[in-house]
Amino acid sequence: MKRKLFISVSLACFVLMSFSSCSSVKGFQKMYLNDAEMALDPRMLDYFETNFQTYREGASGSNGGKVGGGCGCN
């Protein structure tokens, strides 16, 4: 398990470092990036679906959903 976690964290760091040298995008060049569909947050409506997935699956977190509160016991 720890090996897999280590690999995941390392991979995340590698991806971040890979993009650290990206060319800077100026404000006026962000027409596509500013589109609502490009938002990096989950959609407003994902709130409901993420909640039931949190209850119906053992895994949760890192998806904008609930990380606590509510028993989910039904």
Partner: protein, 389 residues
């Protein structure tokens, strides 16, 4: 021009003064969102009846959120809502069909704020509560965001706590022989996120979280049946759990009318669950304001160390559960969403008593079907309406 204005002009601050004057006159719109959903599921592995029996459940949810800008830097946010559900499995807590346990309402509310410390730094927070028949929860959260000067990189730090209390209910037939060490549950979550613009059409977000829970982490009305003499007890699980998910989100414009929104998560916890989740959305821009997005999500997880099906646990086991949410499973969900948000709004109305206009800004619709390898199936339909005034 006054002397102070002359000084500002000489110091090159005139632009800033004009900008401040303009922004103070700017119309600060209040955002209001109304969200509703209807969810139904069915399966045959209810935890209340020890891993067998109907999981049929329906849930109707409504939520409202209101964001009120108080000035250029500070805004407050209110949100609240309720879930009304009816469940066949919780109806079986007391083995009396159509009893009081067959349905319940969960109500919740939060108040939060967002404050811009400097141009690139923002702090936000929230306190809130939720309540249902047998469960009460208080939560609080604090977040800090930092953007680089070119706004191509953002770092987010967050901390959340949940302090929960059960009103413990046991299955009727084993009520006298059941007990739990505490009725409290605490959860602490810390998160680190980093978003990065890759180029004009791509950006990604990486998030690492850690959640520590302790207290009563089992559900006191979940039954477990043992191999020996059909003995039955309530579920027993460790009093602490550490969860570590790592998520990567990647969004890209593939061409002028098609995008890809991808999300991958690896999850590990101290109960033995490891999971991989991958989801993909393919928004198609019909025009600048209207998008249709088919989506697909796949989830795979290993079972918790303490899970066994109906009548497979031994009485010597230290911990035991037959809750199929903690079993080895794969799930697939898919569906379609629509998003319509014209720049001028869908409709406008004059507000009485002031000069503001009430604008029906956007509408979102989403349908999703969910299949779990244990046999559980679910459908959810959600609607979101956005307004400003």
């Amino acid at each position: 021009m006054s002397s102070s204005d002359q000084d500002e002009f000489i110091n090159g601050d005139t632009t800033e003064v004009l900008q401040d004057s303009y922004e103070s006159l700017e119309w600060k719109a209040i955002d209001f969102n109304l969200l509703s959903s209807y969810y139904q599921q069915d399966g045959n592995n209810a935890a209340v009846t020890g891993g067998i029996g109907s999981e049929a459940l329906t849930d109707f949810t409504q939520k409202v959120s209101l964001t009120v800008p108080l000035n250029k830097k500070l805004s407050v946010k209110f949100d609240g809502g309720y879930d009304y559900y009816s469940s066949v499995s919780t109806d079986n807590i007391d083995n009396v069909r159509s009893s009081d346990s067959s349905s319940d309402i969960r109500a919740h509310g939060n108040i939060g704020f967002s404050y811009q410390l400097e141009k690139q730094k923002n702090i936000s927070g929230r306190i809130g509560t939720s309540n249902e028949y047998d469960y009460f929860s208080i939560n609080s959260a604090l977040f800090y965001d930092y953007k680089t000067e070119d706004e191509n990189t953002t770092i987010q730090l967050g901390f959340q706590t949940f302090q929960d209390r059960w009103s413990v209910i046991y299955p009727r037939e084993i009520k006298n022989s059941s007990s739990v060490p505490t009725n409290k549950r605490s959860s602490y979550n810390a998160s680190f996120g980093l978003s990065k613009v890759i180029n004009r059409k791509m950006q990604l977000f990486i998030q690492l979280e850690g959640t520590y829970m302790n207290g009563l982490l089992s559900t006191p009305f979940h039954r477990v049946y043992f191999t020996e003499n059909s003995a039955v007890k309530i579920e027993k699980l460790p009093s602490n759990r550490l969860k570590i998910p790592i998520g990567i989100r990647f969004n890209a414009y593939l061409n002028d009318w098609m995008l890809a929104r991808l999300h991958y998560r690896y999850y590990w916890d101290s109960w033995g669950i490891q999971a991989n989740t991958l989801s993909a959305e393919l928004p198609l821009k019909i025009n600048r304001f209207f998008a249709v997005y088919p989506f697909l999500r796949f989830h795979s997880q290993q079972a918790a160390d303490y899970f066994k099906p109906y009548k497979e646990h031994n009485l010597q086991d230290e911990y035991y559960t037959s809750d199929y949410d903690l079993s080895k499973l794969n799930s697939l969900s898919y569906g379609l969403g629509l998003s319509y948000s014209p720049a001028g709004g869908i409709a406008k109305f004059n507000m009485p008593l002031n000069q503001r206009k009430f604008m029906f800004k956007s509408i979102d619709l989403k349908y999703s079907h969910y299949d779990r390898s244990t046999g559980l199936k679910a459908d959810i339909i959600s609607v979101g309406l956005g307004f400003t005034f």
